[in-house]
């Protein structure tokens, strides 16, 4: 552990071991892949609203191309945007700063995980240029469609997809190990576990859930790879295999994975709410207890994704019960979030807007999940756009609203400048409106019976009542995508031209605000901060101010000498 002051361009920007630079690398990777993911979303919505008409910047979206596009949209948004944006980027940037450490426990491993993720992304994109084209088995890769190239005509593309996912899973697992070991072994003096901010707790929860859940899907990936390449029959019925085994293994991972993509946002929203409502977080111990029980429960709910697969009907009831049960801890956390804000002196800065937007939209997502978890209703709703709307009303608030909340909140610390406030608020308002306009109609068409994963709805006369809703959703989606350019402009423009940020523009308690903006290599001055209190002492009676830094005695390099 040392502070190398003399960094060449290569070691500072490319093969960076400094956690803040690695965080930026993950952020840029996530934003780049989001452009791809958003482009595919546009193509999907175009085809659904204007079937068989050439899409701008693409051409006609034929059914086989549609299959490729929905697969890549899902894979990219979840694994190449969701995980880097919500797990890798915040963990890397925030964890050492918030616990008062100088860097991660294993900086070179950190660098390796970024480059592994980068290679995985390149592998996925490169699948466009191989014979047979890119993967077309759906992001869930259900066998037997995915297990043999004779069904989709895609072989190399499938192999690249499997290897790319295996690589990013391994990278994320190693990254998680880094974050966990850092928090366990490198907390500053006085930073007991109960004084660790909830953002860090939730990032840890995500890391732990991930490394415990990823094993079976890696196992399944190797088996699928062998099916595709060596002609084995793990998942092919005519070779004595069992297609449902893939689904069991995949969803055993898949369900905890959605919580991996959800926990960080809970942490951000709670911390942001405390700061902008000038109130302590409500029920911190209750929240942590609920999180632990949610993690435990998340490992026994997976087959609710499989109610309609023809699996043994005896399994349906137990999984429906556990699925309903798991809504309890999340409801508790949600109520605590709400009560954190309730009665506070709220200032509607942009991060708070995103946090409140999350609370509003996630409620819809969470409640509609109960419809799907009730196996009886799921008979009708499975495979329809109701499911699509449900998971967009959960993923979008988590990944996009939560991601933007984090970026807006910590931007001053990352880049030393403030984002343009008008543009940021406009971005939020338009995103909120267009998001709801895009996905709310999908609940309606889903309940009306429109199924997912079909390219041309006009082929089915029973979907003709939904034409206008589909067109409305598509136009809203295009506006939603266009709105993100406001953010992109703001993000890059403010890096050089934004108002210079003071050290602690929001008067927050947590440690990262004590470091310079942006923090130098090694984060802190000669002395590490010494923590003396809880991170949520806002508006405490008896304190001079309505906030109280966790390490009030820390002076830093600014006042050194």
């Amino acid at each position: 552990m040392s502070q190398e002051h003399h960094q060449s361009f290569l070691t500072k920007y490319i093969f960076a071991t400094d956690h803040k630079m690695v965080a930026r690398q993950f952020l840029f990777l996530a934003l780049t892949m989001a452009a791809f993911g958003g482009y595919y979303a546009f193509l999907i919505r175009w085809e659904l609203a204007y079937p068989n008409q050439p899409a701008p910047f693409f051409g006609v979206v034929t059914p086989d191309k549609f299959n490729v596009i929905i697969t890549l949209h899902g894979t990219i948004m979840l694994f190449f945007v969701g995980m880097p944006l919500l797990n890798a980027f915040p963990s890397n940037f925030l964890v050492p700063l918030m616990i008062g450490a100088r860097d991660m426990a294993f900086p070179r491993l950190n660098m390796a995980t970024f480059w592994m993720t980068f290679v995985a992304a390149v592998m996925l994109i490169s699948s466009f240029f191989v014979p047979g084209g890119p993967v077309a088995g759906g992001w869930t890769g259900y066998a037997p469609l995915s297990a043999s190239s004779e069904y989709t005509g895609v072989k190399m593309g499938m192999v690249l997809w499997i290897l790319s996912l295996a690589l990013i899973f391994i990278a994320s697992s190693l990254g998680g190990i880094n974050y966990i070991v850092t928090v366990v072994t490198m907390r500053a003096k006085g930073m007991t576990y109960s004084r660790v901010p909830l953002t860090v707790w939730f990032l840890l929860a995500a890391a732990v859930t991930f490394f415990l859940a990823v094993g079976p899907v890696l196992a399944a990936a190797f088996m699928l790879l062998m099916d595709n390449v060596f002609g084995t029959g793990f998942f092919l019925p005519y070779k004595g295999g069992e297609p449902l085994l893939w689904q069991h293994l995949f969803w055993f991972f898949g369900h905890p994975e959605v919580y991996v993509l959800f926990f960080p946002t809970l942490g951000f929203v709670l911390d942001i709410s405390a700061v902008f409502a000038r109130k302590p977080v409500f029920g911190k111990k209750l929240i942590i207890g609920s999180t632990v029980s949610a993690i435990a429960l998340s490992f026994i709910v997976w087959a609710h994704h499989m109610f309609q697969t023809g699996m043994n009907p005896t399994l349906v009831t137990p999984f429906a019960i556990t699925t309903i049960l798991i809504s309890v801890p999340f409801a508790i956390i949600y109520v605590c979030m709400f009560l954190t804000v309730w009665g506070g002196s709220i200032s509607l800065e942009t991060p708070m807007l995103w946090a409140l937007g999350f609370l509003a939209t996630f409620l819809v997502g969470g409640l509609t999940g109960i419809f799907l978890g009730a196996a009886g209703a799921d008979i009708y709703l499975h495979g329809t756009y109701f499911v699509v709307a449900h998971f967009h009303y959960t993923f979008f608030p988590s990944v996009i609203f939560g991601g933007f909340a984090a970026i807006n909140y910590w931007y001053p610390k990352m880049f030393g400048r403030m984002l343009n406030r008008t543009a940021a608020i406009l971005h939020f308002v338009l995103t909120f409106i267009f998001f709801n306009c895009t996905f709310w109609p999908l609940f309606i068409v889903g309940m009306g019976g429109m199924v997912r994963r079909i390219a041309d709805p006009s082929f089915y006369p029973q979907y003709s009542p939904f034409v206008h809703l589909n067109i409305f959703a598509t136009l809203s989606a295009m506006c939603l995508i266009a709105t993100q350019t406001i953010f992109l402009w703001n993000f890059f423009y403010s890096m050089k031209n934004g108002k210079k940020a003071e050290l602690n523009p929001y008067q927050a308690n947590t440690l990262e605000w004590l470091a310079a903006s942006p923090p130098p290599h090694g984060n802190w001055g000669p002395k590490l901060p010494v923590v003396t209190c809880d991170p949520y002492e806002y508006s405490k009676p008896g304190n001079a101010e309505d906030w109280h830094s966790q390490a009030p005695s820390y002076k830093g390099e600014a006042s050194h000498g």
């Binding site: 415990l212 899907v217 190797f222 793990f234």
Partner: protein, 207 residues
Amino acid sequence: MDNVTVVDHVEYEVEDYTGPAGTTAGRLGVWILISSEITIFAGLLGSYILFRLFHPEWAEESSHLNIVLGTINTMLLLTSNFFMMKASTAVEQDDQKKSAKLMLVTVALGFAFLVVKGFEYAAEFSHGEFPSKNAFWSFYFLLTGLHGTHILGGLVAITILWVKAKKNALGELKGRVALTGLYWSFVEVVWIFLFPLLYLLREGGAK
């Protein structure tokens, strides 16, 4: 001040990297890695068990495996693990040269394991037993293949440490010997379960 690093004549306080029960950061990291690896092999072995429960005829297939070579491999890996433990102790006693010799034996035995496995594969291929023959063989090749890959990775790591220890140049890497030994023991544990599951539940014996 104990944990201090000096840069440009200024003393910077540094963290001490100790975890619960005196575990170091590196050791905790390897334990978590092992925990994750257990879930991977759990997924594979679990799938094998699930299939096996409704394929009682696999007992017959299993008897085609060479139990003599399998037992020899078990002994090779056990002994390799033992020497790695001794190498670890030697490093703790600051005897890098001795530890280098012990690590060399570790690598040799581990390499011998892979060679024997290679012979087994060759013999199986010559009998037409390929991964695509039936699901038992698919699992056999996948499980032993993945385990073999882990052995190869371990051998690479131990070889690198051997090269350094030979020249008494371990330096900061001293702690890595024990950590690699921890990983190597885990690879041993996987084999302790793989061997019975694949080789010992066969026709003419256990079902």
